[in-house]
Amino acid sequence: MLLEIKNLAGGYGRGDIVKGITCQADAGEILCVLGPNGCGKTTLFRLLFGMLSPTAGEVYMDGRAGKELSSKKRARLAAYIPQNHTAVFSYTVLELVVMGRASHFSAMEAPRKEDREQALLALEKLGITHLAEKTYSSLSGGQRQLVLIARAVCQSAKILIMDEPAANLDYANRQLLMDVASELAGKGYCIVMSTHSPENPFSVGHKVLMMKEGRLAAFGVPGEVINPASLEEVYGIPMDVVSVRDRCGKERTICLPVKAAGAGMGGRSL
C-alpha cells in the first residue's frame, strides 16, 4: 500500500481538528476526499506533509512512518499540488517547474542539467512544452494548474496530493484536470484529491473518504459509500444520487440537492 493513514489525529495546539482518520490508497488509485468547508481537509494535508505533527495515529508512505521521514525524504514520496495560484514574482514556467527538483540536489546548489531535463520531461508528459519560457503568472487558470502538476511530476514522487484541482476553473478545464488525474493514476501514481463535487468520485475516484467535522464519515468505494444518507450526513442538506445514461450509453452518476415541493428557503426567510 503506497499511502496508509492510520487513526490519524492532529491540529494546531488547541484540540485536534482531524480526529481519527483511517484510509488507504494504492498505486494507480485516486482517493477523493469529500466534505464541507472546514471539515479538516487542509489540516489533513498538512499532517501528510509533516507541517503538523500528529497527536495520535500515523501516516505511512510506501511503508515508512511519517515521523521517521525528513522533509527531503518525504518530498521524494509525496508531492503537493496546491490550488492554482498566482506567483508574486514573474518566474518562467520552467523556473517554477524545476523547483520540484529541490529535494534532489544539495541546499547550496542550483538546479543541475539533469534537473532541467527532468523538468522539461514533465512538461512534455503534460503536453505543455510550449509554455516552458512563458511567465507563469500570465497563464490561464487551467494552464497554471497543469504547470503545478508538472512540477509535482518532476519531483519523482509516487503520491500526488491535489488540493481541489478543479477549484476556480471553468467547465472545460475542470474536465481536463480530471482527465489528467485519471491518466496519471493510469501510469501508476497514487492520487489524493480533495473535491467539492460529490460526483467526481463516481467518474474518476477509485476510493472516497468522506469527512465531517474532522471525523471519518465514510471510507470505501464510491458506489458503496456515497448515498443520500451519507451525503446528507456530511453536507447537512437532503441529496439524491441519480443514475443517468449519457449519449454514448455509459452509465453516469450525479448527485443533486433536493427540495420538497413548497418548501421555502430551508426554513429561513430572506
Partner: protein
C-alpha cells in the same frame, strides 16, 4: 504524449546566456564607479594622481603629493568601501525580505532592524559613548529588535510571515517612540544634534576602523545568502508548497532572517539610515535578470553597490556643501516607489 517541442534538452535558455553578459556589464559599472569615485570630490584628484597615490603603498617612489596619498587611503578608500558594502548589503537584504514576504514593496527595515539600530545609537550617544561604541550599540540594537520580532511572532497563531510583519511593525513603533523620547530629553545644543546627524545617514565620518568593524557581519551575511540563494525561490511560495518540495521552511526562513539582519544591521551601524536602496535595487535587478533568485541575488549585490556609490558621489559633489546620503537616496527613491505602484496597478 507529444513530440518534443524544445530542441536540446536542458540546454541553457536565452535568459541564462544573457545573464552572463549582464553580470559582466554590472561588474564593469561597479569598477567604473569605483574609479570615478576616487577622482571626484571637494579635492579632485586627476586619474594619474589616483594611480600614483595607490602605488605609493606598494613601493612606488615617483612624485606624488602627500595630500593625495592621505586623501586616497584615509578618506576616499574607506568611504568607497563603505558605500560598496552598504549598497550591496542593503540590496541583498532587500531581495531576501521581498522574496520571503512574497511582497515586492517590502524593504529590509520590515522587522525593525533600522529602528532598533537607531534606538541603540541614540541611547549610546545620550550616554556620551565614543563613536565605536555607538556603532556597536546600533548593531546590537538592530539585532535585538529583529530578535524580538522573531521570537514574539512564534507565539502567534497567524501564518509565520503575517505574524512577522505584525510584530515587526510593533517593534518598529516601540523603538521609534524610544528614539523620540531620547531626543525629547536630550540637550538640544549637543546630544540632540549628534543624534539627528547620526540618524540622517551619511558616510562623511567613515574611517577604516569602522569599515573593518562592519565588514565581518556583512561578509558573513552575504556569504550565507549567496550560498543558499537558490532556495530563496522556494520561500516565495506558500508554506505548504515549500514544505512539500522538501525543505524545512521555518529553518530556512530563520537562516535568511539571520543573514539579512546581519547585513542590514551592519549597514545601518556603518552609514546610519539610508532608505530606499533595499527596496529599489531588487526591482531594477529583477527587470534585468528575471525573478529567479539564483541570478537575482548576485545582480542585486553588484547593482546596489554601484548605485549607492554613485549616489554618494552625487551627495558629495552636487552642491558646495555635502548633502546627507540618506536624503539623496530618498529623493531618488520615493518617486521610483510611486512609479512602481502605478505600474503594478496597470498590470
Amino acid at each position: 504524449m507529444k513530440p518534443l517541442g524544445l530542441s536540446g534538452q536542458g540546454e541553457k535558455t536565452k535568459r541564462e546566456k544573457r545573464y552572463g553578459l549582464i553580470l559582466a556589464v554590472l561588474l564593469a559599472l561597479l569598477l567604473g564607479s569605483v574609479l570615478i569615485s576616487f577622482w571626484i570630490g571637494y579635492y579632485p584628484l586627476a586619474p594619474g594622481e589616483v594611480a600614483k597615490a595607490f602605488l605609493s603603498r606598494f613601493g612606488y617612489r615617483g612624485e606624488v603629493s602627500s595630500q593625495a596619498v592621505t586623501i586616497f587611503w584615509s578618506i576616499r578608500l574607506p568611504r568607497i568601501l563603505s558605500a560598496v558594502l552598504i549598497g550591496a548589503s542593503l540590496s541583498v537584504a532587500g531581495s531576501v525580505y521581498q522574496g520571503m514576504f512574497r511582497n515586492p514593496l517590502v524593504s529590509p527595515d520590515i522587522l525593525g532592524v533600522s529602528s532598533g539600530a537607531s534606538l541603540g545609537a541614540a541611547l549610546a550617544i545620550l550616554n556620551g559613548a565614543p563613536a565605536w561604541l555607538t556603532q556597536i550599540a546600533a548593531f546590537a540594537g538592530g539585532i535585538l529588535a529583529v530578535g524580538c520580532s522573531y521570537l514574539i511572532s512564534r507565539r502567534s497563531a497567524h501564518s509565520q510571515t503575517l505574524s512577522l510583519v505584525l510584530t515587526g511593525s510593533m517593534i518598529m513603533a516601540l523603538c521609534n517612540s524610544g528614539v523620540t523620547m531620547i531626543k525629547y530629553v536630550s540637550d538640544p545644543n549637543d546630544v540632540l544634534q549628534q543624534i539627528t546627524f547620526w540618524l540622517m545617514g551619511s558616510l562623511t565620518k567613515t574611517d577604516m576602523g569602522s569599515v573593518i568593524l562592519a565588514m565581518g557581519p556583512m561578509v558573513l551575511g552575504l556569504a550565507a545568502v549567496l550560498l543558499f540563494r537558490w532556495r530563496l525561490n522556494l520561500l516565495t511560495l506558500e508554506d505548504e508548497e515549500a514544505q512539500s518540495l522538501g525543505i524545512h521552511v521555518r529553518r530556512y526562513r530563520l537562516l535568511f532572517i539571520l543573514a539579512s539582519t546581519l547585513l542590514s544591521a551592519a549597514a545601518v551601524c556603518l552609514g546610519g539610515l539610508i532608505g530606499w536602496v533595499g527596496l529599489m535595487i531588487p526591482h531594477m535587478a529583477r527587470a534585468l535578470v528575471g525573478a529567479d533568485h539564483g541570478r537575482l541575488v548576485p545582480a542585486c549585490g553588484m547593482l546596489g553597490a554601484a548605485y549607492l556609490l554613485l549616489m554618494d558621489d552625487l551627495a558629495r559633489s552636487l552642491l558646495s556643501m555635502e548633502l546627507p546620503l540618506g536624503v539623496v537616496t530618498s529623493v531618488m527613491g520615493a518617486p521610483f516607489f510611486v512609479y512602481l505602484i502605478i505600474k503594478r496597478k496597470e498590470r
